[in-house]
Symmetry: C2
Subunit: 114 residues, 2 copies
Amino acid sequence: MQLDEFSNIFKSLSEPVRLRVMYLLLERGELCVCDIVSSLEVSQSVVSRHLAYLRNAGLVSSRRQGVWIYYQLAESNDFIRQLLALFKQSGEDCVTLKGDLNRLQAEGRESNCC
Amino acid sequence: MQLDEFSNIFKSLSEPVRLRVMYLLLERGELCVCDIVSSLEVSQSVVSRHLAYLRNAGLVSSRRQGVWIYYQLAESNDFIRQLLALFKQSGEDCVTLKGDLNRLQAEGRESNCC
DNA sequence: GAATTATATTCGCTTAAGCAAATATGTACA
DNA sequence: TGTACATATTTGCTTAAGCGAATATAATTC
């Protein structure tokens, strides 16, 4: 890994909404945009732009299934994997991240999309 | 750790000059500003501003000794320690980071400051 | 206390990155 | 074909963050 790669990864993770998205994907594996939107309680266009950012950065990948687009963590090198594992573990104590996860699970039961 | 703390740490590490400074400190423990300046080959004011940024972020601390100000890594929590350890390890393969370190060692022998 | 050196900070400027609102694209289904 | 829905992208704007050049501060030495 070269210097720009390190800084790009850290920059990708320096934005709160992107961190929240990454945490959900770390915990849940694969999610469609509408689930992320309602879990984070952030506007659709904001979520979409940050997903595009993460995709360009190579941190997530997406697949289309009908109308829905599912995002998941991209395959990545040792550094990124370990970094994300560390973040996942340390995120346990984070109120916001846990809240997102709870909202996701709550809405999963009575989902109106996907 | 809460969400802002995560994002602030990542933002601090998202800038190439700051990453280079952090790597030198990880490898060498304690350095004065003039050593960092000549090792990175970046202007004094740029280095100084990034050091201030890192200090505000709580990632480094400094002590004065006469005219010189020495910087070192600050004490920090598990997340930061592990993150930096991972970065240090992965930085082994980075041309720029290794170059900085080499220049630091070379100039150490015939140092004109500190 | 004046000159020198190391470091920090300010000023003026430019570029990147964020948001909200609006619009476009692509799929499904009648 | 047309309407509806999920998602992406564009536009216009504002704010944050970077830089170089210049200036300020603080310690040292003469």
